[in-house]
């Protein structure tokens, strides 16, 4: 991808110099489940090496937005460009795009019939065509990064929730993705296990990974995010630097949400 296409016809051939193209660019996205409109015209983008945290009350559509970005959810209308490639174009090879986007789920979704190593190797071999030796080397390297080298031969059922989630992150990283999506990655964890997972995510952010993080961890958003997006009722209410959104929000809806999250016992 190089050169600049000034033609604004919005074709899938849109190309531009890498620095100018966002990794994720969502335009006027809507998503309906039956009569229920969960996303009502979202504009959203994540630049290369940027860490964007999406916060908001449950049911606000933030997970749906994230799942649309690698088309696990089919958008109803609108446009989604991944590094300039329109993923809603029927001619786009979706698998080609997805291998560049790592995804981490709330429920981990490790493959229970495979060992930790197997989980990290299966897609490397099937999708990237890496050899057994090569994919095992990558897998062991990623496992070491998340601090779980000694669990290489364990099955997911033998790991704690926090360990499973770190394996899931390592599994996504084994594909050498160019960006990562986190869908409430710590919401299913016992409180004492959250820290380990957040530490791995923080390291990843500091290493320059492009990240879209749907989260309820305000502390993580405040200290790691470059930008915070607040969503409610299917729209982006407000976005900006974490200090501004979390400490000095302009919109009343944002203020209301933050006061509920930060002082759950009041009023």
């Amino acid at each position: 991808m190089s050169g600049v296409n000034m033609d604004s016809s919005g074709s899938s051939q849109t190309v531009a110099s890498p620095a100018l193209v966002p990794d994720i660019d969502v335009c006027n996205l809507t998503k309906c489940f039956g009569d229920n409109e969960v996303l009502k015209g979202i504009d959203f983008s994540v630049d290369p090496r940027e860490v964007v945290c999406v916060i908001g009350p449950s049911g606000s559509g933030k997970s749906t937005l994230l799942r649309c970005v690698n088309r696990l959810e089919e958008p109803t209308s609108g446009q989604i460009l991944i590094q300039g490639v329109d993923i809603c174009d029927p001619d786009t090879d979706l698998n080609q795009v997805r291998r560049r986007i790592g995804m981490v789920f709330q429920q981990f979704n490790l493959f229970p019939h495979l060992t930790t190593l197997g989980n990290l190797m299966v897609a490397q071999r099937k999708v990237l065509g890496r050899s057994r030796g090569q994919s095992e080397a990558v897998a062991r390297e990623q496992l070491e990064k998340v601090g779980l080298s000694e669990k290489a031969d364990s099955y997911p059922s033998q790991l704690s929730g926090g360990q499973q989630q770190r394996v899931a992150i390592a599994r996504a990283l084994s594909m050498s993705p160019e960006m990562m999506l986190f869908d409430e990655a710590t919401s299913a964890l016992d409180p004492e296990l959250v820290g380990d997972v957040l530490a791995v995510m923080r390291d990843l952010a500091q290493g320059g990974m492009t990240m879209m993080v749907v989260t309820h961890e305000m502390g993580f958003a405040a200290s790691v995010a470059d930008r915070v997006v607040f969503m409610a009722d299917g729209v982006v209410v407000e976005e900006g630097p974490p200090a501004q959104i979390l400490e000095d929000p302009r919109q009343q809806r944002t203020q209301q949400f933050l006061s509920q999250v930060l002082n759950p016992m009041s009023d």
């Binding site: 997805r98 291998r99 995804m103 229970p112 019939h113």
Partner: protein, 266 residues
């Protein structure tokens, strides 16, 4: 004596009385010397038992394995077709499953066993007329319909997140099905699969309607033939013991597997 112990003692007493009544009735009414001679003759048993094992047990197992193996293939194809994006494929699979499940296995074996050689005529090689090929194929058709439903339930029992995780890693739909979903589905359905195997084992006795050929007889056929030729029921009892000998270990295995599955370990 506590109330609880008295209660238990009464239950034992009632059971003993029931058992005594049944045994007493049989003792008084059954002609025991005849039963011993015609049902449990050691002489007849010693004479027939080797053939019973080498031909009967062997062929029963062969028919069952052909039927089960073929049934797994048909069932897997039908189960995957039911999830197809192409509507006619789904309809075809549904028709196969529903029609086969509504027919008696005996009828299918007769139609396939006698009908196919006529329908295909010269284009069918000689070996395809044997009971092994025709009967095994018919059994596979019947078993496939039931196995399709079992496999489908297994596929549906694998959480959707597994597919999503695989697809998000860039795996294609087929790769996801065969490397992620199916291995987990089969683990889930091992107990019902074993039950289907046991049912099929007994249905293999129906193949005898296609004609009795020495070397192709299974347990029930051999039992009946020997029984007719000796005028003695001992071969039938021997055949029964053989079925139990094959089935009981499998039943124990299923119970063990079910216990393990219920314990939640995968």
């Amino acid at each position: 004596m506590t109330r609880q112990r008295r209660n238990l003692a009464l239950q034992w007493l009632a059971f003993a009385a029931f058992l005594g009544a049944v045994v007493g009735f049989l003792w008084a009414t059954v002609d025991w010397p005849v039963v011993r001679r015609l049902f449990f003759s050691g002489e007849v048993l010693a004479d027939q038992f080797p053939t019973m094992i080498t031909e009967g047990v062997r062929n029963t197992l062969v028919y069952t394995l052909i039927g089960f193996g073929g049934g797994l293939v048909f069932g897997l194809i039908a189960a995957l077709m039911r999830r197809s994006a192409i509507p006619p494929a789904r309809v075809l699979a549904l028709a196969y499953v529903d029609i086969m499940r509504s027919l008696p296995a005996l009828l299918v074996i007769i139609i396939v066993g006698f009908g196919l050689p006529i329908a295909f005529g010269e284009s069918l090689p000689d070996w395809a007329n044997s009971n092994f090929a025709a009967g095994g194929f018919a059994l596979a058709l019947v078993a496939g319909a039931y196995l399709a439903e079992t496999i489908r339930s297994g596929l549906e029992a694998v959480p959707k997140g597994q597919t999503e995780a695989a697809r998000s890693l860039g795996m294609k739909s087929g790769q996801t099905t065969f490397t992620i979903v199916l291995p987990q589905a089969f683990r889930i359905i091992i107990p019902p699969l074993t039950n289907e195997f046991i049912l099929l084992l007994k249905d293999s006795s129906l193949i005898s309607v296609l004609g009795i050929v020495v070397g192709q007889r299974e347990l029930t056929t051999i039992g009946r033939q020997f029984s007719n030729s000796t005028g003695n029921y001992t071969p039938l009892i021997a055949a029964a013991l053989c079925y139990v000998g094959i089935t009981l270990p499998l039943t124990f295995l299923v119970r063990k597997l079910e216990k393990r599955a219920n314990a939640g370990s995968r």
